[in-house]
Symmetry: C2
Subunit: 311 residues, 2 copies
């Protein structure tokens, strides 16, 4: 299949490329390398059936040429801002990188009659709730511009899919961890402890509790859903129904680094504005389809720490 992967040099995108190449697809990756990194896909460069294009998804002329020449069967759209805190300080970041990229890709798919679409969505579309989240849960009240950009994307994906006849797969991720990640709590803790091995400052009270999924596990889940869910419009939660507290992550990072640091909590029930302090996933739909994450949330976190430390 001829596939376009947007954001394919990013954290999740590059792992998806690995799995799609393994499955003998013809891949074109487009990435502006703002958050993505060329070294994430350097092992794929030069392989037959793999092409990398450095381009901004909002650059109309370049993207039209790409679609005109690419004759794609399917688009996996992963390009987005992934730094939620940054988007809280400047709403234009998620407006452009998380939402506008999606709208422009949809327009190009409509124009060039690409009929299959995958979208990487997120638990952040739900906002703050203690209910167990499933695919049909409402109301949707994002508290971050990142979550808003993803929900706004889903809104137009829904309308385009039904109006212009796309077959669509949307998976909603929880926190994703593993090799090549550039943001998030594990990354932060390791950096802080490298600077000061005696003390680890943790934002909030450490009680924030969320499901974490290992990136390679997630990518297998994505492809399982695309290969097995056959409705016109397929929405799936992906991840784990287990969860990990921030204080557990802190303890695991200290242990894996072989340190004896004390933990200092800044207090409050969340790390920063736009943070959702806890959520949990109902995975019945994807389990019924036949997929289950290989690792629990705690196992995923520990594995990601070990990989980040080069173990």
């Amino acid at each position: 299949m001829k596939i376009l992967v947007t954001g394919g040099a990013g954290f999740i995108g590059s792992h998806l490329c690995d799995a799609l190449i393994e499955r003998d697809n013809d891949l074109t990756v487009v990435d502006n390398l703002v958050l993505g990194r060329k070294e994430n896909i350097s092992h794929l460069l030069g392989r037959s059936g793999f092409e990398f294009i450095e381009e901004n998804l909002l650059h109309e002329e370049g993207m039209r040429t790409l679609f005109k020449e690419g004759h794609f069967d399917m688009v996996y759209h992963l390009a987005a801002n992934s730094d939620i805190q940054k988007g809280g300080k400047d709403p234009w970041v998620d407006y452009d990188l998380t939402f506008n990229t999606t709208f422009h890709i949809l327009q190009l798919m409509k124009e060039f009659e690409v009929k299959k679409f995958f979208f990487a969505s997120t638990s952040a579309i739900y906002g703050e709730t203690y209910d167990v989240l499933n695919e049909d849960y409402g109301p949707l009240r994002p508290v971050s511009n990142y979550g808003a950009g993803k929900l706004a994307s889903e809104a137009f994906i829904s309308a385009f899919s039904s109006t212009y006849g796309f077959q669509t797969w949307i998976t909603r991720f929880p926190n994703v961890v593993g090799e090549r990640f550039t943001h998030g709590v594990i990354h932060d803790f390791i950096h802080k402890l490298q600077k000061n091995p005696k003390e680890l400052e943790v934002l909030g009270n450490g009680e924030q509790c969320k499901p974490y999924v290992y990136v390679k596990d997630l990518v297998e889940g994505i492809l399982y859903v695309v290969e097995h869910a056959s409705a016109d419009y397929n929405v799936y939660m992906l991840g784990s129904d287990t969860r990990t507290k921030v204080k557990e992550i802190a303890a695991m990072v200290i242990e894996e680094m072989g340190l004896d640091a004390t933990i200092r909590y800044t207090g409050g029930d969340r790390g920063w504005v736009g943070d959702v302090p806890e959520f949990r996933y109902n995975l019945d739909r994807v389990n019924t389809l036949g997929w289950k994450a290989a690792y629990t949330s705690n196992e995923a976190v520990r594995l990601a720490i070990q990989k980040a430390l080069g173990k």
Copy 2:
């Protein structure tokens, strides 16, 4: 209170202006007059406490000047594309007029620290479902770009409200009818019958069944919700729990015009791409707050027909 009404020369916006002026507010109306009409507010021009500015909400310089000089306490944001069929043919229409207008207004409110916000939302955010719709219903799967633009707007309104501390009221309308309307089934039927009084062509099978609300009734509902709902984030369905079939509307128009036309159905369960053939509202939340529409759906439709015919 110093209030900005966007889309204030439009169908619903101009009735809202009438009610806000009656309540002794200081109003500034901004409208690009693409869908709005100056005659809708001509009776307000020159009144003290009323100002009309012809401006495009996406024209940054003009809008920043307006906010800088306006010192608004609250924004009622009604500007949007209202022609759902047009938005199906060209997705940029709802991208710009329904969604981008909202995002830009939110940015201006953030910058100029306006803290109260009203947004006119719609049943179209839900898409096609036979369930009874309430405020917390999910999933949200709009089938029109109009519905997508409104849902995308709600997404960023939610994030901005919680991140930047706005107090927000959102009401979701069903079909709205009455004086000054420019689109919709009543309008179409009257025009068709004026051209050919012998036969009325009805798109679909006539069984499409939706709640209709009379515009002045709706405006009283909006102001009731803003005046009585005091949470930080308030979402209310507004309208009627009664409904009217398209075939009933056809019969009422023919009767009120005093004609003896035959009705010809084009067939199929919907009028056009993006049409939602039926939906119904659960109004418990607004009823509990103390508001109920004065007219049933059938009464609203008949009244709107009579007003359109100058009765």
